[in-house]
């Protein structure tokens, strides 16, 4: 029993649905197992907690070999929107919520959300630009402090 994971700190650094969801699912899954979970959003991963963007995150159809189709198709207007809508429908059936609802669910489950200071400065964002579930804007040093004694996962 002693080698059970007690705490995870997950870094979400990539944008797009395929960049954001894995970290959210792992954080929520950790809480479901009674594991303490921290989420640290950085670079384009920050879209997931930015009020203006969190509801509009799409799946990348260009330069994404996982789409199993030529990238040339992916540049067609509306293609990304269509692929996103298909993916969202499938996920909804599996009870995987849309990003804003997922963020709320993780926060309600006791997960802690943080925004990366360097990215905030770079994109000239303010605390008000983030959804209410974001605990605070922290630097890398503080992140390591919060993550101390647990596992760190980078996505």
């Amino acid at each position: 029993m002693d080698d059970k994971i007690k705490k995870v700190s997950i870094i979400i650094s990539k944008g797009g649905l395929e960049g954001v969801y894995p970290g959210l699912i792992m954080a929520n899954g950790a809480r479901m197992e009674g594991i303490e979970a921290n989420l640290f959003f950085t670079f384009f991963g920050m879209d997931a907690i930015t009020k203006k963007r969190m509801g509009k995150i799409k799946v990348a159809t260009v330069g994404n070999p996982g789409m199993h189709m030529p990238s040339l198709l992916g540049i067609l207007p509306g293609f990304s929107a269509m692929a996103t809508s298909m993916m969202k429908k499938t996920m909804d059936k599996l009870d995987i919520p849309p990003v804003p609802e997922f963020i709320e669910m993780i926060a309600d489950a006791g997960g802690k959300l943080y925004a990366c200071k360097a990215t905030v400065d770079m994109f000239k964002l303010k605390k008000e630009d983030f959804c209410e579930q974001v605990d605070s804007i922290i630097n890398v040093g503080k992140f390591y402090e919060i993550a101390a004694g647990g596992e760190i996962i980078f996505t």
């Binding site: 699912i25 479901m32 009674g34 309600d108 489950a109 006791g110």
Partner: protein, 105 residues
């Protein structure tokens, strides 16, 4: 198949103590499983969750997810985590006499 004593009864269980046969479930057994899971007493709020899970399973053949419990207005996610600390979906399912939930969310 393994057997386990829950309160007044000995029942068929899987390797993790989930009931193998729901027809053996009783409220006394539920209370005993809850104690095993660190929940000293099942309050009316707990029972509301248990009853919904059983009803939903009967209708859909699936243990409802945390999201469904929240959306159906049975219990908010926050309260669910408070009522079943350290693993709400699994603990609520176990107490309700269900199999271990297999979904990731």
């Amino acid at each position: 198949m393994a057997q386990k004593q829950y309160g007044p009864a000995t029942v068929e269980v899987d390797a993790e103590g989930y009931l193998s046969d729901f027809s053996q479930w009783t409220r006394e057994i539920a209370a005993a499983i809850a104690k095993d899971e660190g929940i000293a007493e099942l309050t009316p709020a707990h029972w509301k969750v248990v009853e919904y899970i059983q009803k939903d399973f009967k209708e859909n053949g699936q243990v409802p997810s945390i999201r469904k419990l929240n959306k159906s207005g049975v219990i908010s996610t926050k309260e669910l985590y408070e009522l079943f600390p350290g693993g709400p979906a699994k603990k609520a399912a176990k107490i309700s006499g269900m199999k271990k939930p297999e979904g990731c969310v």
